[in-house]
Amino acid sequence: MPTDRNAENYESVLTGASGDVASFDEEDKGLFGRLQEMLHATPSLVPLIVLVAAIVIFGIALGSKFFSPFALTLILQQVQIVGVLAAAQSLIILTAGIDLSVGALAVLSSVIMGQFTFRYGIPPTISVMLGLTIGTAIGAINGWLVSRVKLPPFIVTLGMWQILLAANYLYSRNETLRAQDIAQEAPFLQLLGIKFQLGGATFTMGVLLMVALVATLAYALRSTAWGRHVYAVGDDPEAAKLAGVNVHGTLMSVYMLVGFICALTGWVMIGRFGSVSPAVSTGMMGNIQSITAVVIGGISLFGGRGSIVGAFFGALIVGVFELGLRMAGANPQWTWLLIGALIIGAVSLDQWIRKVSQ
């Protein structure tokens, strides 16, 4: 064929091709363009900016009443339950799932820890460990149904939410363990409620646990192979599998870890409330509260993008709004109106940031 003869000639000039690494004049994209690129590189900056802005605005409006170590650490105490749940929810959402059962599992775990101690006389340390174990096992069931049976996470956890809430009432016989009884007979259950002062600031063990948990998970997600696999599975499970990631193992580890963290939240709840009640609002609202924090924190509901630190900031933003507006004497409905606006705003901003790569 005549074309064969010429087939290689056009490539012969390649010997003279440039071997330099490409470099371009940094085109001035303006303040907006640079901001967009910066946010693309560090997505948790957005919630951090909103958080700082909210603190500054409330600080100016309310003065030292709000802008004091006491009030600011009070926010930490108020968000500790949602903060820990949001850490768990972040992990699931990073794998492109969603967990509606987090709050119910936390309440059930707290009931298990309390009832095991008081009904069966099991030492509280053992009860707590059993509660954490059962939480992990329930997480494993969720994970198995999602990863092996291939059910959508929304459906699995919608069902599990109802099952756990009902089991929680059935098992506890709708009975509340009073704070004084726990303080007298099993103070270990309230361990995470222990308070200590630092200047004017008040911290609890639960707050420290939340901060340590977020820091540990942030490290694990960024700097270990497991963390990279969580992102890869959330991004594109098929590609991750072909690239050699154990997708099933990664999903199972995430759901079990989330079950464990939810049970840990149950323990935090005993510290925060003092008592153990099957009827606390976390059972019904914990899932929506944690998803709200995660979305405001800039984690994509489609998986694979975002940082857990962002979700922590998201939980704090909600806490700042709640306390600030309450101190300002506003109707509490304003909090939810603003949070709603923030959710829509956060997702719109996320879309805009993403355009940097197109």
């Binding site: 056009y10 098929e238 590609a239 690239a243 050699g244 990631v245």
Partner: protein, 260 residues
Amino acid sequence: MTQTPILSGRGLVKRFGKVTALDRCDFDLMPGEILAVIGDNGAGKSVMIKTLSGALQPDGGQVYLDGREASFQSPTDAREAGIETVYQTLAMSPALSIADNMFMGREIRQAGFMGRWFRKLDKPAMEAFARDKLSELGLLTIQNINQAVETLSGGQRQGVAVARAAAFGSKVIILDEPTAALGVKESRKVLELILDVRSRGIPIILISHNMPHVFEVADRIHVHRLGRRLCVVNPRDYTMSDAVAFMTGAKDPPIEAVPA
């Protein structure tokens, strides 16, 4: 032929519902050769490759590696046996960096305390390695090894995937359409890389629609048609139009090239 094939398949069958994608398909890759696999769209090339690389499990038939029966339950199994594959879909996570993607599933951990107890990854080492491999491939237009794969052009993505396979493959490298999205210069680099890998003694399976590329580098050409091997021809004995005629059924294959 007296040599034993390094990788072979016998009577491979794969069905998806009522569709038969592989129909008692045979396959042989000899040591040190470049075997091109050509065939029409839907002939079952990709399915055959996936059964060889562990991404799919055949419903019947047997895969042999080095003459021994091999049963790859997952791509990881095949990779551990030394078979690296570049899939058409590239198998990359768009939101993760180039280095993350190159080392997906075989990350390097730091030496010493942090790596041992905190399982910390050795990012500098992985980045340096990734940068090396990309410059070997001549992918110099990539400016930042930490940029997310989604910010790369299609050709650059393919280059990264090929570099990943070339860097880790020890027994067999399978390339599914490696030059389809590449520019002239990058295609040339990939072809050079293929020849370079062969000179290191590692055989390559090259699936391609690009006849000039196939005829330039292949030692033998496996013509795939209707889910099975139609014939194997030597590119020096036949022209590109012959090959196209075989794979489309316009011409019957030569008797001597049809395996028993």
